[in-house]
């Protein structure tokens, strides 16, 4: 009996420890604590050990939980680096930078308070500042095993600074991954908090193991029921269009994986009814996590120091804009092997109508320039057929018709297309397959405008700009200003992926912006403890 009881106890302990492990969330650091609308926020995220997703999200929400902007970042070696372009139009106040993974977004999110000032209204109308309360703070441990060699407490402006970061051997062995090293202006009267928002009861979603997943649901417009067995298409128009499809099950849901794209991409999500009179409606899930309930805030009066510091920030950013000084530079996206030929296959014929005489409509173009393509428009009822070359006869079914890579079924869209509208036409004169999709020939029209304006807006078609994996960025190299132009950088050094070594050289130059600065080193130990060391200095 004792044995059984101890086994049970052991089970409970194991289960509880399992849960405890799940509770550790990501940690987020930003280059500064106060920003001005229109600036770029640089961020570094440490991802928990138990992670299996390739993507982590970074977004900005206001005090009411409304999402303002965001990005999806690639996790490498349990860390992610990214940035957010802060909109110009934000009103002054406290905002929260959040980070989370989609599958655990309901369970755990990390958020960090930041202050954003509006360049045009500053702090004139504000006397109180909201601060988050009642959330679990992300614990960090200050370490004295990282030292800065020859680092002063005062530096003149516009002068180079070099120092060596010395990491004790005992610490070096226990550091997990890279370190974040940053040097930035700091506002001593504002010490923002970083918190975890947790809900252990919430269910987990789908893990984004390979890349960003976009999902949604298809419903029948007549019955408002979930539409099963509907093929939903995702097209990313390009010279070689990207294409995916998903056949819905009884839950009406669809999923697409975007694992090979970086940056913003134009996309079209669409579906067609299984019968001509079936009308459907597509709804995409939110790309970013739902805001959930906003945290509680307490109010604090704004100090005079804070007010002065914010005014100085606004001036610096305004002049940066005037002088066109950039904060970050985009790096080339990692090379990924995209398709070498379209999903519908290599064209058996390609026609470029621009090389021939002007033809007024598609009937003429098909007749004169497209071998094996029969487009007829009798009694205003257009029809399209393609030759099945291996069988030497025409397919009875309508071929796959694409405009700029996007499947269309309405032939009325192309009947008026003349030479001026068409850049090229690809034709596949055989029965093609893409996965389980079957195409009785293909006619792919690439338009001269390539703006997809021909596609009719409907509930069955969504045109959207997708923010796929964010392209990496780095802090812009300071452009040596002319003697009359001040260097207005407030972030002097940002190395989010510094490889730990016993001696790490740090070199930067101070800018023309005077004030208090902080050199910060952040890292994570193999046991998950977040560590930091900081050194304050003044630029005079």
């Amino acid at each position: 009996m004792k044995k059984i009881t101890s086994i049970l106890l052991l089970m409970i302990v194991v289960c509880i420890s399992g849960y405890a492990q799940k509770e550790s969330g990501p940690a987020i650091y930003t280059d500064r604590n106060t920003y001005v609308g229109g600036e770029i926020l640089l961020a570094k995220i440490f991802v928990p050990e138990t992670n299996s997703s390739r993507i982590i999200y970074l977004d900005l929400v206001n005090q009411f939980g409304t999402q303002i902007t965001g990005a999806s970042l690639e996790i490498r070696d349990k860390q992610a680096n990214g940035y957010l372009q802060l909109p110009d139009s934000l009103s002054s106040g406290i905002y929260m930078v959040r980070t989370y993974q989609k599958h655990t977004a309901r369970k755990i999110k990390a958020l960090r308070e930041i202050w954003i000032s509006n360049r045009f209204d500053g702090l004139e109308k504000t006397s109180q500042i909201n601060r988050i309360e009642n959330l679990i703070p992300i614990g960090e441990k200050e370490t004295n095993r990282i030292e800065l060699e020859g680092f002063e407490t005062k530096y003149p402006s516009n002068k180079p600074v070099t120092t060596n970061l010395k990491i004790a051997k005992t610490l070096l062995d226990s550091i997990d991954g890279d370190l974040l090293i940053s040097v930035a202006q700091t506002n001593l009267s504002f010490d923002p908090g970083a918190f975890w928002v947790q809900n252990n009861q919430a269910a987990e979603g789908m893990i984004e193991k390979k890349g960003v997943i976009i999902s949604g649901i298809v419903t029948d417009r007549k019955t408002s029921e979930l539409a099963a067995n509907i093929t939903v298409y995702l097209t990313i128009p390009d010279s070689i269009p990207g294409f995916q499809y998903y056949r819905t099950q009884t839950d009406g849901r669809f999923y697409f994986l975007l694992d090979r794209y970086y940056g913003s991409v134009q996309a079209v999500v669409q579906c067609f009814g299984n019968t001509p009179d079936q009308r459907l409606k597509i709804k995409l899930d939110d790309f970013f996590a739902e805001s959930g309930s906003a945290p509680k805030f307490r109010q604090e009066p704004i100090s005079e120091n804070f007010r002065n510091s914010v005014t100085q920030d606004i001036e610096a950013v305004t002049f940066q804009k005037v002088f066109g000084q950039r904060k970050s530079d985009l790096l080339p996206a990692p090379s990924v092997s995209l398709e070498t030929y379209p999903y519908y296959g290599k064209a058996s014929n390609t026609a470029d109508p621009q090389l021939f005489i002007d033809l007024p409509n598609f009937t003429e173009i098909s007749r004169e320039l497209l071998p094996g393509v029969k487009f007829r428009n009798y009694n205003n009822e257009p029809s399209l057929q393609v030759l099945n070359n291996p069988m030497r006869n025409y397919f009875n079914e309508m071929p796959l018709l694409l405009i700029d890579g996007i499947p269309v079924r309405d032939l009325n869209l192309i009947k008026g297309m003349g030479t001026a509208d068409i850049d090229r036409v690809d034709i596949c004169q055989s029965e093609r397959f893409y996965g389980d999709l079957q195409f009785p020939g293909v006619v792919a029209i690439y338009t001269t405008k390539a703006d997809y304006s021909m596609l009719p807006e409907s509930d069955q078609l969504i045109r959207l700009k997708l923010e796929t994996i964010q392209e990496p960025a780095k802090l812009a190299e300071p452009i040596l200003p002319e003697p009359t132009v001040p260097d207005l950088r407030q972030v002097l050094y940002w190395a989010p992926s510094a490889k730990p070594a016993e001696t790490l050289p740090i070199a930067f130059s101070t800018s023309s912006v005077l004030g208090q600065y902080k050199l910060l080193v952040k890292g994570r130990l193999k046991d998950g403890t977040l560590i930091y060391t900081e050194k304050q200095f003044e630029v005079k």
Partner: protein, 238 residues
């Protein structure tokens, strides 16, 4: 008492497994896998001989050009056209997989032997991408090009009594290949194999083969002989 413990264990287990089950979503298997691109395979003209390498569909896997693998496919290699055909169960269609989309494929034959094919550019007569079977790999690979030609033969009557004069004939070719030196054709006999080595190496190789009682008369003995020679450190003289 024992029953109470059992119930307690069941309750505990159900508590801890409940949340992951709730989190699962109804997803199609391999929904995010790369899709196979191809065209419908049309039957070859019926003559004596056999245009395929194997007479049945065999389970195998393909490797896309980006390295992604798709497995549990029913494959058949067309030696006649040097194409890979797979059976799409959803459409009940035989599909010729686009060669441009593949890096290679493998399947387990009727004898349970795993056979691996690799797409490589052939720079000899009739240049282009070909599927080569990898018989032995290493610094220098021993490859087989399982070619079947449609050749004319003396007239014969097929099963339906139609008079025909064409037949599918195996024209397998064997090559030593290294990325630096390219291809060199080898025929299935001792002298042809020996001629692929430096003159100074030929005598010791001959001795080794004699000692190992290997005489190259066919494909298997060629593979065996090459493995022995390779082990001794002799290199092909391209």
């Amino acid at each position: 008492m024992n029953n109470q413990i059992k119930y307690l264990v069941i309750i505990l287990m159900s508590c801890f497994f409940a949340s992951p089950i709730a989190a699962q979503e109804t997803l199609k298997e391999n929904w995010d896998a790369q899709k196979i691109k191809g065209a419908r395979h049309l039957p070859y003209p019926s003559y004596s001989g056999f245009p395929f390498l194997t007479d049945t569909w065999l389970p195998g896997k393909i490797e896309f050009s980006d390295g992604e693998i798709a497995d549990s496919l029913f494959l058949r290699y067309s030696s006649y056209k040097d194409e890979l055909v797979y059976f799409n169960q959803t459409n009940s269609a035989q599909i010729l997989i686009d060669k441009a989309s593949l890096k290679g494929f493998s399947f387990v034959d009727q004898n349970g032997i795993s056979r691996m094919f690799r797409k490589q550019y052939f720079d000899g007569f009739i240049k282009g991408d070909r599927y080569f079977e990898v018989l032995a790999d290493g610094e220098t690979d021993l490859l087989a090009y399982r070619n079947v030609e449609l050749t004319s033969t003396s007239p014969y009557k097929d099963e339906s009594g139609t008079l025909k004069n064409m037949t599918y004939t195996n024209e397998y070719q064997f090559y030593f290949y290294s990325p630096e030196n390219g291809y060199t054709l080898v025929r299935l006999n001792n002298n042809a194999l020996l001629s692929k080595f430096k003159e100074s190496d030929q005598k010791p190789i001959k001795k080794i083969l004699r000692k190992s009682r290997v005489r190259v008369t066919g494909e298997e003995s060629l593979i065996f002989a090459w493995k022995i020679i390779k082990k001794e450190g002799f290199k092909i003289n391209f």
